[in-house]
Symmetry: C2
Subunit: 176 residues, 2 copies
């Protein structure tokens, strides 16, 4: 019998664990006198993206990777507030990508589909799902949001960067 | 002079791109007759976690990786609504981890820190930042939320799974 989804998942994870490199606990890091100085990367959930790979992250970089549909800053504003206070947030990097699903649906259509199932839930009328028209502009819009939101201190928004990731070439292009 | 943060980032990405394996566009996938049947993995932004690595994901798995502080389901409910309609969402996997920062801060402290800076922003009083007391219980709580939220259709919540990832061993332990 073919292995189930669950069995495949657990088996792959066991294989991974054989060469797993254990990370220090937060207490161990602090005992070593290591100060947290984190970078929050906000990018898309798309299964064609592997940000740890295309950024070649190393644990000592302290790159927190936040992922939501399209990689929008709006849903991540509270994370920025949290990490500003809790994990020494230094900067934010916004990375949207070419051929993103975010440009292929409309928020209104998603609302409509759920309203037909849940007609009494009027709060759905106000839901935003992250759709955008043009990928460079969506990065610009999100950088603007970082710079104008009262929730983001200037020392963090001043260090923010924006990029478009090309799924065909694997390259990041900066967005001014 | 040492390379700047920006230069290091771009240089590492260029190195990655040399062996980048281009992914098909959504249009190319659909032309091949490939139906979207996605799995949404919800996990933490922690820099000690590399979910694509510990799950040994393959592009054909169509694992959408959503990451927020602690990997809570609450902030991801709208994503589930989106992917239910837009990308053929089949199941949700919740993965919290040992030594998570989520158990080391209190939502009230984060609110307090921002209220002292933004005293006129009373909406901060209602903000939730994802803190929890115990990691297995937080997975259980989030599985319960999946099963009881009106936004999540039963065919999806019935397929949901929960795990704790151990940062020391790299292993996933299922949570019932």
């Amino acid at each position: 019998m073919a292995p189930s989804f669950y069995e495949t998942l657990v088996e792959r994870n066991k294989q991974y664990a054989e060469t797993h490199n254990p990370a220090p606990t937060i207490a161990e890091q602090m005992a070593l006198g290591r100060v947290f100085e984190t970078t929050l990367v906000i990018t898309c959930v798309d299964f064609r993206l592997n940000p740890d790979q295309f950024l070649q992250t190393k644990p000592e970089d302290q790159f927190l990777i936040s992922r939501n549909p399209a990689g929008r800053v709006g849903p991540a504003l509270q994370e920025i507030m949290l990490f500003d206070v809790f994990l020494g947030l230094k900067r934010v990097i916004v990375i949207h990508h070419t051929d993103c699903g975010g440009s292929q649906f409309k928020d209104a259509d998603i609302r409509e589909a759920h309203k037909s199932r849940l007609p009494d839930h009027s709060e759905i009328d106000h839901m935003v799902f992250g759709a955008f028209d043009e990928v460079e502009q969506s990065v610009r819009d999100d950088l603007h949001l970082l710079k104008t939101s009262p929730y983001v201190p200037k020392r963090i928004s001043d260090q923010s960067l924006g990029f478009v990731y090309d799924i065909k070439t694997g390259l990041l292009t900066p967005v001014e």
